[in-house]
Assembly symmetry: C2
Homo-oligomer: 252 residues x 2
DNA sequence: AAGTTTGAGATGTATAGACAATTACAGTTA
DNA sequence: TAACTGTAATTGTCTATACATCTCAAACTT
């Protein structure tokens, strides 16, 4: 990994540490520095840019607090993996709670198939006629044999690759995209709404039709902000809630 | 404001900057340093503790990133005010959007009165028989003459102070607590659920009974984590949604 | 062959000092 | 009075250096 030294202007009014921070951030965003890869050592960077090591550390501190890299004493500094595995907001706290309580929970694949693209899908993914096929998944999440949520997922089909149930150990949408397509999931947009469930959803979840539910739509983007995945999930309103704490007190 | 220098152990394995960070954090939490008050200057602190100014800056940087203080070049460093004005999560983004769009929005006070404490209220606020009276508010939030949300608020009544509508410019629960009680709102817990609205709520909001709504319960705590306020708000499900972005890309 | 020690290299903490940028305020001037 | 100016105080940036702590692997010992 080579960082171009000439991109730092030491006489600029913009602080050196900030220029360096932006420079490395750009390398990561463009993919020149991939998750898991190591940054040059602080010593190397300070030599290459002819700046103090403390200034390099200031830039790296910014990257750390932005969650883009992590440092390990004695080893080095590494590019972090984007956290896209959460289902939504703090809803995953609930799932963590399930595990902490030792409850028996699992994801069940109801259906997985290749479908033909229709107009709505092509618009949602901003693709033309050339993209003919999409992958389609339907899954249910349950705990203690009670069905809690139901999710439908779509991704562009681009790899000639069989859909193996064994690969569905990571049923998250970013995981499916990484496994079944050539795209790299990079960022996500999530929209949470309230709704009343349809008859189909009610039957799957075992609740009364028109019960209130959380409705979460998620769009996954690749590094170029091209949509590469979309999902719609329904969470039982009587089993999920979101909790947050404000103020000065730390969460740990 | 005096910070006791003897509380720093320079020979400890715990970093000096971290000890100082914790020391100042404690002063703020205990109320010795109040919001708006200024910290001693970096130079003063470094003299008093006989440590380097850079070490002081490191401690203050931690406080800044924790949102507990803010620094102004040329002026000083000041204790921040806890941000407790948001209604909940990103729902306030919606209200910001209203203002940005130039929509005409307002809060209307439906009712404000002193009520007698019942058993449920006393349990919720963890007070005994000595607290006889509570303040009770009912408000509606509307935009473009459409009612969007309805909220009920309770606080302990401890000041002999008339309830003036002119004081309700800040109708937020922390604002009401600061105005009408002797307590200091310091942190908050918020729980968001989905529900179907009651007949009363439906009538107030002008929607059909049993329509899906966001239900947000909020508890406000003082610096000793004593509950000093509680509210329950209902947001029209067809008018509010929550959006969030994950990944590396900044929100700005 | 297995375990131990040693050392190089990496990040973490701390210091002392220099200068820049901004603010507030007192003093000066029109 | 009003506007300008200079100065001190305060935070912001940057350097150069020293030593601590941690990791890993090579060299050594048993």
């Amino acid at each position: 990994m080579v960082i171009q030294a000439e991109k730092i202007d030491k006489s600029s009014v913009i602080p050196i540490y900030y220029q360096l921070f932006k420079l490395i951030e750009e390398q990561i965003r463009k993919g020149d520095l991939k998750p898991g890869e190591s940054l040059p050592t602080e010593h190397e960077i300070s030599l290459r840019f002819e700046i103090s090591r403390m200034t390099v550390r200031r830039a790296i501190a910014e990257l750390v607090s932005a969650g883009m890299v992590y440092a390990q004493q004695g080893r080095g500094t590494f590019v972090a993996t984007p956290k896209l595995d959460n289902i939504v907001f703090e809803l995953n706290d609930f799932n963590q709670e399930i595990k902490e309580r030792g409850l028996n929970c699992k994801s069940t694949l109801l259906e997985a198939k290749i479908i033909r693209a229709d107009k709505e899908l092509r618009e949602r993914f901003q693709v033309g006629e050339e993209s003919k096929r999409f992958l389609y998944f339907r899954t249910v999440f349950s705990a203690e044999d009670e069905r809690l949520s139901y999710e439908v997922k779509y991704t562009i089909y681009s790899k000639s690759r069989p859909i193996l149930e064994s690969e569905l150990k990571d049923p998250s949408l970013p995981g499916l995209i990484a496994t079944h397509t050539e795209y790299v999931p990079m960022s996500a947009k999530k929209v949470l709404q309230v709704a009343v469930c349809t008859e189909e959803e009610a039957a799957i979840l075992g609740i009364a039709p028109n019960s209130p539910v959380f409705l979460v739509e998620q769009t996954i983007y690749d590094p170029d902000l091209k949509p590469v995945g979309w999902s719609k999930a329904v969470y039982r309103g009587d089993r999920y809630k979101l909790t947050s704490y404000d103020g000065w007190y730390k969460k740990d």
